[in-house]
């Protein structure tokens, strides 16, 4: 169990992260990595990938699942609650404010320029994380999984296959693979 200080830190950092997740929940991954893995060393990269994979395979917003899970990993249920609330508060407050002045900012040239810049920035951050994560998968030297990531990419991006279907499919294939491996083991022993 972590101290109150850790919880307070997580609350603030999650507020901060959530206020800057422009361009979709995936930006949360590099942010959690920066603060939880590199700065505080609460857990390692391997664990980060596990949390990211589970957050993505569950229903709901990836950003919220991700902060809730990393909170849970560090401080149990209290961390889960802290991560959840801190992830939801900034969009709640910002949106309430923005919906009031929406007409004013919709056509503002500066706002739009800043957003365009951030879009390109988000893309860069995500590309970096993908690269690092793929290197980790690749280092395990299991061709099956090294090929699985690009295969899922192609199926989703090119063939527009539904995400839920792809996740279910990869679980099914892995069970099959583990089953076959066990059978082979039995036969040889």
């Amino acid at each position: 169990m972590k101290s109150k200080k850790d919880l307070a830190w997580m609350f603030c950092i999650n507020l901060f992260i959530s206020a800057f997740t422009f361009g979709g929940g995936y930006v949360v991954i590099p942010m959690i990595r920066k603060y939880y893995v590199e700065k505080k060393r609460y857990f390692d990269e391997e664990e980060l990938m596990k949390i990211a994979a589970i957050a993505q395979s569950s229903p709901g917003a990836i950003a919220v699942n991700m902060s809730a899970l990393s909170g849970y990993r560090v401080a149990g249920r209290a961390g889960l609650a802290v991560g959840c609330v801190a992830a939801v508060l900034p969009p709640l407050i910002i949106l309430a404010a923005v919906s009031a002045v929406y007409a004013l900012i919709r056509d503002n040239a500066v706002v739009n320029a800043v957003l365009k810049g951030m879009e390109a920035g988000v893309a860069a951050l995500i590309v970096e994380v993908i690269y690092d994560m793929y290197v980790m998968v690749f280092r395990e030297k299991q061709w099956f999984f090294s090929l699985m990531a690009p295969a899922v990419f192609v199926l989703n991006y090119v063939f527009k296959i539904n995400v839920a279907l792809l996740i279910a499919g990869s679980v099914f294939i892995c069970i099959l693979k583990a089953g076959l491996a066990r059978r082979k083991e039995r036969r040889t022993s």
């Binding site: 901060f16 992260i17 206020a19 997740t21 979709g24 995936y26 942010m31 920066k34 596990k50 949390i51 990211a52 589970i54 993505q56 569950s58 229903p59 709901g60 917003a61 990836i62 699942n65 990993r73 889960l80 959840c84 939801v88 900034p90 969009p91 949106l95 309430a96 923005v98 919906s99 919709r106 040239a109 706002v111 320029a113 957003l115 810049g117 951030m118 390109a120 920035g121 893309a123 860069a124 951050l125 995500i126 970096e128 993908i130 994560m133 395990e140 999984f145 990531a149 690009p150 899922v152 990419f153 989703n156 991006y157 996740i167 990869s170 679980v171 892995c174 069970i175 583990a178 491996a181």
Partner: protein, 183 residues
């Protein structure tokens, strides 16, 4: 009271069925919020998507806050948002505990490896979509519509991030400032 419950339950369903996040759930939100309950008009719904693109936070959370505020004030916003996130958090927490408890099992280890690999593929797919939006402004990819300024911001952010390990939040601000200067 009935209204709050209705909102909670509607967004509960939306949250439960939005696997993978992002824009895949727009049709479902549209159907529930505009067609079934008439909480928003079609124009308001288009606006909320634009707002979501210019504010941080997941689309489903933004929509639930917006609809909740409109229909039931702050209590409405809280109910709708709570409904939207609760199943995702409960399920992901359950899965996490399951994978941690059975970490010795060959089956669970393989499934987790598979999920890691496939989620990587899915993230890559989202990244390409964002890249295309940034580089080609949503138009079809061709050399004519390529936004060199966006490519420049992308490269600058990428290099600074890799070389100096700068804070992602600072990088986002930097990208925003570059955008304001270049566009």
């Amino acid at each position: 009271m009935k209204l709050l419950w209705e909102m909670f339950f509607t967004f509960f369903k939306i949250g439960l069925f939005s696997i993978g996040g992002g824009y895949a759930i727009i049709p479902m939100i549209h159907e529930q919020v505009v067609l079934t309950y008439h909480w928003l008009s079609a124009q308001e719904f288009t606006d909320i998507i634009t707002i979501s693109q210019m504010t941080p936070g997941p689309l489903a959370i933004n929509t639930s806050t917006f609809v909740g505020m409109r229909v039931g004030g702050i209590a409405g916003a809280l109910c709708a948002t709570a409904g939207c996130i609760c199943m995702g958090v409960v399920i992901s927490c359950g899965l996490y505990r399951m994978f941690s408890r059975f970490s010795g099992s060959a089956y669970f280890a393989e499934i987790l490896k598979g999920l890691k690999a496939s989620s990587l593929g899915l993230i890559a797919s989202a990244a390409v979509i964002i890249l295309c939006l940034a580089f080609f402004g949503g138009a079809a990819a061709s050399t004519g519509s390529l936004e060199l300024r966006a490519v420049l911001i992308f490269l600058v952010t990428l290099v600074i991030s890799r070389k100096f390990k700068l804070n992602p939040v600072l990088l986002m601000i930097l990208a925003g400032v570059l955008g304001a200067v270049l566009y």
